[in-house]
C-alpha cells in the first residue's frame, strides 16, 4: 500500500516536511483546520482558544480518560489566509522542547482533491530529532489509554 502521508527529515537539518494528499476539496481540508469542533475530532484534543486571523493565538489541551491533562500546547498565528496558508508557532507546555515554526500550505489539486504541505522549523537539528523520538513514548501512552478504555468498559 502506498503511504499517503510522507515525512521527510534530512539528516543534520533543523527542518521537517510533512506532505499528504487528500481526497477532499481544498475548502473542506482547510475547514478541518479552521473549525474548533472539527479540530477536536481529528486531533483528539480540546481546543481552548483559536483565533483564526493574522496575529491571533491558539491553545490546545488533551486529557486522559480520568480527566488529567496530559498534553497542552499553544502558539501564535502569524498569518491566516483561508484555503491557502497558515503560518504559526507551536510550543508544547511544560516540556523542555523549544517553540517551533510551522508553515501549512493548502494546495488545490483538482475540484475534489487537495494537498497539504507542512514545513516545521526547529530551534536546532537536535531538537527536531528529540521530537521525532517522542512518538515512541506517546504511542505507548495511547495504546495504554485504549487499553484503559476497554478495561473500563468491561467493568
Amino acid at each position: 500500500m502506498e503511504m499517503k502521508t510522507k515525512v521527510h527529515a534530512e539528516e543534520g537539518k533543523q527542518e521537517l516536511h510533512i506532505t499528504r494528499e487528500f481526497d477532499l476539496p481544498v475548502e473542506l481540508l482547510f475547514k478541518a483546520y479552521e473549525e474548533p469542533g472539527l479540530i477536536e475530532e481529528w486531533m483528539g484534543t480540546k481546543v481552548l482558544k483559536l483565533e483564526n486571523k493574522d496575529h491571533g493565538a491558539y491553545r490546545f489541551e488533551t486529557s486522559d480518560t480520568s480527566g488529567n491533562v496530559v498534553f497542552s500546547a499553544n502558539g501564535v498565528i502569524h498569518e491566516f489566509k483561508p484555503n491557502r496558508q497558515i503560518i504559526r508557532t507551536f510550543e508544547m507546555e511544560n516540556t523542555p522542547f523549544p517553540v517551533q515554526l510551522e508553515f501549512l500550505e493548502f494546495e488545490k489539486l483538482t475540484e475534489n482533491t487537495s494537498k497539504l504541505n507542512i514545513l516545521m522549523v526547529f530551534k536546532s537539528g537536535a531538537d527536531r530529532d528529540q521530537l521525532l523520538k517522542l512518538p515512541f513514548a506517546k504511542g505507548i501512552n495511547m495504546a495504554h489509554d485504549t487499553l484503559q478504555k476497554i478495561v473500563n468498559k468491561t467493568r
Binding site: M3, K4, T5, K6, V7, A9, E11, G12, I18, R20, F22, D23, L24, P25, L28, L29, K31, A32, L38, E41, W42, M43, G44, L116, G125, D129, L131, L132, K133, L134, P135, F136, K138, G139
Partner: protein, 107 residues
C-alpha cells in the same frame, strides 16, 4: 573525540553516508573503502571510527585484515525514529479525511 555522538550526527556527513552505502553492498577493509574516495586514508579512518562508535558499522577481524560491515539493526533504528511520527500523522490525517467526507455528505 566526543564519545556520545549520536547516529544522526554520524549520518549527517556525505562521506560517511557514502561509506555506509559501500559497506552495505559488501564488507570491506579500510583500505578498500579509502580507495573509493579522493580523501586521504586517515580521513576515511576517522569516518570509520565515528561510524563504529555509533555502531552503524562493525569491524570484524578476518586473518590479518579488519573488515567493516553494516550493522542493519542500528540502521533500522533510524528509520524507526521517523516511522512512528509518520504513522501518527497518517492516522490523524486519515481521521481528518473521513470526518470531512462525512461533513460533506451531511451538507
Amino acid at each position: 573525540m566526543n564519545l556520545r555522538r549520536d547516529v544522526f550526527q554520524a549520518i549527517a556527513d556525505p562521506t560517511r553516508r557514502a561509506i555506509l552505502l559501500l559497506v552495505a553492498a559488501q564488507s570491506m577493509t579500510a583500505g578498500t573503502i579509502a580507495a573509493n574516495f579522493n580523501t586521504a586514508r586517515p580521513t576515511v579512518s576517522k569516518h570509520l571510527h565515528i561510524l563504529t562508535e555509533c555502531e552503524l558499522v562493525k569491524p570484524e577481524q578476518n586473518g590479518r585484515e579488519i573488515y567493516y560491515h553494516l550493522n542493519p539493526k542500528k540502521m533500522k533504528e533510524i528509520a524507526e525514529f521517523i516511522e512512528p511520527f509518520r504513522k501518527m500523522w497518517d492516522d490523524r490525517f486519515n481521521k481528518l479525511e473521513s470526518i470531512m467526507k462525512n461533513y460533506k455528505s451531511k451538507k
